[in-house]
């Protein structure tokens, strides 16, 4: 007979095993699903997980998808550690794309060296602004951060749709809801010829390392960590909850905004209504899968990026709807939350039990 027993200390080992277990369970779930759809599960998993990494071009495309996921997830990891339930990465990303595009289009065909830096800055500033409002409303008026950030996601989306149908629409675009293509001067430089690996990918990796440094080596990061694990202790130590909340929220907004502007000045090259296939929401899963650790987020973002790309390939090669990927993400998070049960509990066999 087996029995469940609460652990006296959360298990360090399970903290790392749990995501792997969750991924394994999700893949088993996937095999069952593909079999039910009359698709060869081994072939499907190969297309989903191996093909995206099979050659240089595919790896490049995978990294292009990793960039926004990682930027958003690094910010969210810090937010969740400080108990700030920011669900607004998607809106902050869209705001960044919109703000950056407005500046990029204003530069037109100008060859100014300031074009790209100012475009990126505008994207970051827009993301910061989009996260600052819900943060202010929470800290000043005590409004529910989850709900306000979600509402801001929708508001950002309709603002973007309005912009590409109105002020930012390409006058020569036959009425399509798209902006004009950006000039080369406002595009992110390509780092590896023959791929779409752009500067933003480097920035996203850099952001994870910097966030890790802040979190583990600075006093500010120490405060965030204490806040997450023991709020009364943090308050007793005199840490300012307001200051920390502002810090994590604005940082998350800046990174998500950067993700947005990197999408339009990187792989897309213009402002379109569907800038993001829900990167800001998937980043929540990335953050959890990476154990709210900036470096863990790199691995988790790569996994989700592989899944995104595998989903595209599976649709082309095996006629599996891409919506499967959204479902996998939800299942993955379910399994992760379920496996995390064993961080706080363990199975014991009654004949060994002493209690």
């Amino acid at each position: 007979m087996m029995r469940i027993q609460a652990r006296t200390q959360p298990s360090q080992l399970m903290t790392f095993v749990s995501p792997l277990l969750a991924i394994a369970l999700t893949l088993i779930f996937g095999c069952i699903l593909f079999s039910a759809l009359d698709k060869n599960p081994i072939e499907a998993l190969h297309v989903l997980l191996i093909t995206p990494l099979s050659d240089g071009y595919n790896v490049g495309e995978m990294l292009v998808k990793m960039c926004p996921l990682l930027l958003c997830a690094v910010g969210l990891s810090l937010c969740y550690r400080a108990n700030m339930w920011n669900i607004g990465a998607e809106g902050q990303l869209l705001a960044g794309a919109l703000g950056g595009s407005a500046v990029a289009l204003a530069f037109g065909d100008s060859t100014s060296a300031l074009a790209l830096p100012l475009t990126l800055l505008a994207g970051v500033a827009s993301g910061v602004a989009w996260s600052a409002v819900p943060t202010y409303l929470k800290l000043r008026f005590n409004s529910n951060l989850i709900l306000t950030t979600i509402m801001f996601n929708y508001i950002a989306f309709y603002l973007l749709v309005w912009a590409v149908n109105g002020p930012l629409r390409d006058p020569d675009g036959y009425g399509f809801p798209e902006s004009a293509m950006f000039s080369d001067q406002t595009m992110l430089p390509i780092l590896v010829a023959g791929t779409r690996i752009h500067l933003g990918i480097l920035l996203s990796l850099l952001s994870a390392v910097v966030a890790w440094f802040i979190l583990s080596k600075t006093h500010l990061g120490f405060q965030v960590r204490v806040f997450g694990s023991d709020e009364p202790a943090a308050t007793y130590a005199g840490f300012s909850s307001k200051k920390l909340s502002w810090f994590v929220m604005l940082l998350a907004g800046a990174l998500a905004g950067l993700a947005g502007v990197c999408e339009v000045t990187g792989p897309i090259g213009q402002l379109v209504p569907n800038v993001s296939p829900g990167y800001g929401y998937s980043a929540i899963i990335v953050a959890y899968l990476g154990r709210l650790h900036p470096l863990g987020a790199i691995i988790a973002a790569i996994f989700l990026a592989v899944l995104y790309m595998g989903g595209d390939l599976a649709q082309i090669q095996m006629n599996i709807p891409t919506a499967v990927i959204g479902m996998f993400q939800g299942v993955l998070l379910f399994f992760l939350l379920a496996c995390d049960f064993f961080i706080r509990n363990r199975l014991v066999f009654t004949h060994q039990a002493t209690a």
Binding site: L147, A323, L337
Partner: protein, 310 residues
């Protein structure tokens, strides 16, 4: 701008507010038991797609609604097992439910996008519907709207006047005390969660069978989230939930109202209005920290582990 036009606007506000009302009524029961289920959007989408599929393939509307309710229950059970038995964080699990439901509904419904069905017909209630103006506003709706009226009254009665309502309140306010007097806290919470799931399922079916009789990806457009705000807005009181739902309904059809005044504003900008209104309302309602603490169920969002009680 005449009385007929105003009656037409109020009629539409009720129609538009009805899915919000269903979700918020279910969620308020769930929250009164101490559980915060943020998975409304995902459950609603699943209700919408399953309801549409069932109604489309059988041609029976009532069957569609029942299937949507059952789907909502199943979705909420996944949530229930995770938060009640595995002690998972309620916020994270709710989000997972929404992400899962969004993906699964798009997957299940991918072959049915663009297909249409007849949908529910309005049934004017004899005599009542011939009351001038009021009849048009309240009594020329379809069956699901009438069901929402009945459910509002029923829930108001149960929560305020019955032993069941008291049990629910005890579990939400102080689960340890409720447990001590022999109430099965987890069982009450499971039932409350499932009731919420069923109600959200109906709201989904309302979207795909009545409001726009078709299925489209993400057709609920954040209504699940707005309904969550509505519960806070209404301070967990059933009567206010109904009023709030119709106010949000009105905000969503503002473009019709403005057209009545002869104004034209970009529809994309007007589409933001319900979301902006939600933020605005959240700010006004929550500004008084003390009041909200007083009104919210005290154990809301906190796990209860009966093993610690032994």
């Amino acid at each position: 701008m005449d009385a007929d036009f105003i009656a037409q606007i109020l009629f539409s506000a009720i129609k538009t507010g009805t899915p919000l009302l269903f979700i918020a009524l279910g969620e308020v029961i769930c929250e009164k038991s101490g559980v915060l289920n943020l998975g409304q959007e995902g459950m609603m989408l699943m209700g919408a797609v399953v309801g549409f599929l069932a109604a489309y393939s059988t041609g029976n509307m009532a069957f569609g609604v029942l299937a949507a309710m059952a789907m909502g229950c199943v979705m909420s059970l996944i949530f229930g097992v995770l938060v009640l038995h595995l002690g998972a964080n309620q916020v994270a699990t709710g989000l997972a439910l929404t992400i899962f439901g969004t993906g699964l509904s798009a997957f299940v419904g991918s072959d049915f996008v663009g297909k249409t069905i007849q949908g529910f017909n309005p049934i004017p209630i004899p005599y009542l519907s011939s009351i001038p103006y009021l009849g048009k506003i309240l009594f020329e709706h379809d069956l699901l709207v009438y069901l929402s009226f009945i459910m509002t009254v029923l829930i108001m009665y149960v929560t305020n006047k019955t032993r069941l309502g008291l049990t629910l309140k005890a579990v939400g306010e102080n689960p340890n005390a409720a447990n001590a007097i022999g109430i099965k806290v987890l069982r009450v919470r499971y039932l409350a969660i499932m009731f919420g799931g069923a109600m959200t399922g109906i709201a989904g079916a309302y979207m795909s069978l009545v409001y726009t009789p078709m299925w489209a990806e993400n057709m609920t457009a954040g209504r699940g989230w707005i309904a969550l705000a509505l519960v806070v807005f209404a301070s967990w009181r059933v009567g206010r939930i109904m009023l709030g739902a119709y106010l949000f309904g009105l905000a969503s059809i503002m473009h019709l109202v403005l057209q009545g005044f002869g104004w034209t504003i970009s529809t994309n900008l007007l589409a933001m209005l319900p979301y902006v209104a939600t933020v605005f309302v959240m700010v006004i309602i929550s500004a008084d920290k003390f009041k909200e603490k007083l009104l919210a169920p005290r154990s809301l969002g906190k796990p209860f582990d009966p093993r610690h009680m032994a």
